[in-house]
């Protein structure tokens, strides 16, 4: 068996595709491309696809990860080209690479994700509001349960918030816990802010797993959190809300 990791984007209007729709689409696209999908055993065999972290509806993704098992080895470049000949540009595959099929899937490793919400026009007084938020000891949001809604404190899931403001827009960067040990989503964080405006756009910039020494976050490619945030012109090491004048990234 051969496992491939696919890095793709989810852009533009395609942010509105639900995770289920995306899953169904990838299965059909892989089948249509004639890829040698490996199926699970049992009564109702399913192709073995694993998405690292489902993306909430309305959020675009710059680097989304999907791992797939094939029963035959393929050329990574060809996988990428074949899939891109079928997929819309908004779901383009950026990279395909073969990985160890015996290793754990990303979905089981993912710990955090980096998001940015763009408010345009900027929200007046966003800086103190965000600071305020970060200073509170409890941050409760309501989550829909099957029967009753329950209140959850998401404070522990908010690792970092970081604001860049400019005359034409505010960018609220969020580094949030995600994965099977619990987490939160941008919508929940934004719902805590006493503002009326909705962000014009929310993007997921990347996902993170634990680094080798356990205390640092790295991207699946091994980039450290500090390198990653430096790339965004953010200094995130010191876990505080910072404001700064915007720089293009």
């Amino acid at each position: 068996m051969h496992r491939y990791r696919i890095i793709f984007v989810k852009e533009g209007d395609f942010a509105c595709l639900s995770h289920l729709d995306l899953q169904r689409t990838f299965i059909r696209v892989l089948r249509r491309a004639g890829m040698p999908l490996a199926y699970s055993q049992g009564f109702n065999p399913q192709p073995r696809l694993s998405f690292a972290a489902p993306l909430a509806v309305g959020i675009t993704g710059d680097r989304e990860y999907l791992e797939i098992d094939f029963f035959r080895q393929l050329d990574s470049e060809k996988i990428k080209a074949d899939l891109n000949s079928i997929l819309p540009a908004e779901l383009a595959v950026r990279m395909a690479q073969e990985i160890d099929p015996k290793g754990p899937v990303l979905a089981s490793l993912v710990k955090a994700a980096f998001y940015v919400a763009i408010f345009s026009p900027p929200v007046p007084e966003l800086i103190p509001l965000v600071k305020n938020l970060y200073g509170s000891s409890v941050l409760e949001v309501e989550r829909k349960g099957k029967k009753i809604n329950k209140r959850v404190d998401i404070k522990a899931f908010i690792y970092n918030l970081y604001l860049q403001n400019a005359p034409e827009e505010d960018k609220l960067f969020m580094f949030l816990a995600t994965g099977n040990l619990g987490g939160t989503r941008p919508a929940e964080v934004i719902s805590l802010l006493p503002i009326k405006s909705e962000p014009e756009k929310v993007r997921r910039l990347g996902i993170f797993i634990s680094g080798n020494n356990g205390d640092e976050f790295i991207t699946p490619e091994g980039e450290t959190l500090s390198t990653f945030s430096n790339g965004l012109n953010l200094n995130i090491q010191d876990s505080a809300i910072r404001t700064q004048t915007p720089t293009a990234y």
Binding site: L17, L20, T25, R32, L37, L87
Partner: protein, 622 residues
């Protein structure tokens, strides 16, 4: 465009409006000589499940110079936003406003979607009445099964296509193209030209007459207006276009699978079934052709399910052979095959079982009526033994859900027939419980679905009445009470007032158009979706027009009465429908016309009735 993206972010299930699906066709509309909107007056998930729309989409886009796009009805939340922000309803592919198309063609599939047509025109910026449309407005056409009684919709449509759309559409597009080239901008000049195409009905070239409040006649007003308008039908399905590159939806649609069309038409001759009459005669594709198409469709789409569709698929003359070859082709390819339309005999259930290969989950059996007498009336040629055997086979195969289809309010139905229905369900539930003992799956759940009989145009029952509302409820109450006594049986009643509305519209005349418009103005939209439905709007609309439901549903009709759809010819003679109606009342069975031609008037040639794919030459319209 940006506006639309913003809208998508704030509506539920935005994938409905996203477009850009795999295999959808994207071109620059500016380069199209004829820009056609294929409109479906229902939500995306319903419209995308419709085979006819897929056929026309593939066909139109294969013709040079033509660009066809899809448009579906927006759900209430998007409708609201479009209205507030004054954004016109747009096509899925290029997001072009509906009123910028050359032609807008609606699929007419279900009576309860009539107000959705008005609301799509309205939101699309097209005047509701064809008489109010100007030279820059598109031509609005309609086709599909309900075009066989187009009268209630006539003011809203420029013309109708009677019969198989793929046969006529190329001619319409050609006529439009040359008319446009001539630079003539007068709408009427096009309408007169298009009226010359056989199978086209241009209602503005006809006038309706009434006597004593009853429909009396339709009179042609121009030499281009033929009387009657004969339906068009594909003569050779084998060579006819079929979509092998199905658009693959992102969201889950009602029938989320690839489809093969084994044959068109149906030879059973069930007397209540409009499709069985208007789609005559039977025309088949060969098993070899279907096998090739199946392979290509699955390769082109990646669908994991393939359904062998037709009005009565197990009647396909080479069904056994086809199933064998498809099973062979798709072994280990993770494609599940299904045979959707089930009859009521063991053979059909067995064939379906062969496809499901042990994955037996549910089966549908349709006895339609509870007693032999009533099954004879409707010409449903199955006996109680057939039904029980079918059920037994299904249970043996391990199905755990058995769905039973019946109709209520059929002509001549008495309480005895309903008692028979309950008894039959009882016997099947007994079979189920017998199996339940010792079977690893236990007892099956038996779902009884009882729809209300609605007399439809162009059937032998077109002279029959809809049961009174009170009586429908009364009979439903009886079923509810009696079926509840049976173990493992579920029954849910159908909305009686929805049947009433369907019955009114199904046999309406031109005067009903005002009622439809009024109901629309009162807020009626996608009536097929229960949550939005309210009959009170229709009551009010009928009252405003000074009409009653009874005029259309239970006024006694005589064979000699002119009917509002007499000018639309399916090829079946009225004499034949009268004969069939009489035979129904005499409890006479009319055999399957694959076995013996019943002489309906369609004119399949003797000896090769009706056409199977290997006997192509047989059938021409008069």
């Amino acid at each position: 465009m940006k506006d639309i993206s913003r809208l998508l972010a704030s509506v539920s299930r935005p994938a409905r409006y996203l477009g850009r699906e795999i295999n959808s066709i994207h071109r620059d509309p500016k380069h199209a000589e004829v820009h056609l909107a294929l409109a479906f007056p229902d939500l995306y998930e319903v419209g995308m499940s419709h085979l006819g729309l897929r056929i026309l989409y593939a066909l139109a886009n294969s013709l040079p110079g033509i660009y066809a796009e899809r448009v579906f009805a927006p759900a209430a939340d998007l409708e609201q936003l479009l209205k507030e922000q004054q954004i016109p309803l747009f096509s899925l592919e290029s997001r072009t406003p509906l009123n910028c198309f050359d032609l807008v063609g609606f699929t007419l599939q279900y009576e309860l979607s009539y107000t959705a047509i008005l609301f799509m025109l309205d939101r699309g910026g097209i005047p509701l009445h064809s008489s109010n449309r100007g030279n820059d407005d598109p031509f609005v056409l309609g086709g599909g099964p309900l075009a066989y009684n187009p009268e209630p919709l006539t003011p809203f449509f420029d013309f109708f296509v009677i019969g198989d759309g793929e046969e006529v559409l190329p001619e319409i597009l050609q006529t439009y193209r040359s008319w446009k080239k001539k630079g003539l901008r007068m709408r009427e000049s096009f309408l007169r030209e298009v009226a010359l195409i056989p199978g086209i009905y241009v209602p503005s070239l006809y006038r309706d007459h009434y006597e004593d409040g009853k429909f009396a006649a339709i009179e042609p007003l121009a030499k281009e207006a033929s009387l009657p308008v004969h339906k068009r039908a594909v003569t050779d399905l084998e060579q006819s276009v079929f979509p092998e590159c199905f658009v693959v939806p992102y969201m889950e649609v009602v029938h989320d699978r690839a489809v093969l069309e084994l044959f068109r038409g149906c030879s059973q001759g069930c007397r209540f079934c409009q499709a069985g009459y208007v789609y005559r005669p039977v025309r088949e594709r060969s098993a070899e052709k279907l096998r090739e198409q199946a392979g290509r469709i699955i390769a082109n789409t990646g669908f994991t399910e393939l359904s062998l569709a037709s009005l009565s698929s197990s009647d396909y003359s080479a069904i056994g052979e086809l199933i064998t070859s498809l099973k062979e082709d798709f072994a280990n390819k993770h494609v599940s095959l299904s045979l959707p339309s089930l009859r009521a005999d063991a053979y059909a259930v067995q064939q379906a079982g062969r496809l499901q290969q042990g994955r037996a989950t549910g089966v549908t059996i349709a006895p339609e009526a509870g007693t032999q007498r009533l099954r004879d009336v409707i010409n449903k040629k199955v006996t109680e033994e057939d039904v029980l055997e079918a059920a037994a086979v299904a249970l043996q195969e391990g199905h755990n859900h058995v769905k039973l289809y019946f109709m209520l309010g059929l002509p001549t139905e008495t309480m005895e027939d309903l008692a028979g229905l309950v008894e039959l369900v009882g016997k099947i539930s007994l079979l189920g419980r017998k199996r339940g003992k010792g079977h690893k799956k236990g007892s099956p759940l038996i779902n009884v679905s009882v729809s209300t009989f609605i007399p439809k145009a162009h059937t032998p029952f077109q002279w029959e009445s809809l049961l009174e509302q009170k009586e429908i409820m009364h009979r439903q109450d009886y079923l509810l009470r009696e079926l509840r006594k049976l173990k493992g049986v579920a029954f849910a009643r159908h909305n009686a007032s929805m049947s009433l509305l369907e019955a009114i519209l199904a046999r309406g005349d031109r005067r009903l158009a005002a009622v439809i418009e009024q109901a629309y103005n009162l807020g009626s939209r996608l009536d097929a979706w229960n949550e939005n439905y309210s009959f009170s709007r229709w009551e009010e609309a009928l009252a405003t027009a000074g009409m009653t439901a009874q005029l259309y549903t239970s006024r006694p009709l005589y064979y000699s009465d002119p009917l509002p759809w007499d000018h639309i010819s399916t090829g079946i003679t009225k004499e034949f429908l009268i004969k069939e109606h009489r035979r129904a009342l005499e409890l006479s069975i009319t055999p399957d016309c694959r076995a013996a031609c019943a002489g309906c008037g369609i004119g399949c040639k003797v000896g090769i009735t009706p056409q199977s794919a290997s006997q192509k030459a047989g059938y021409r319209f008069p």
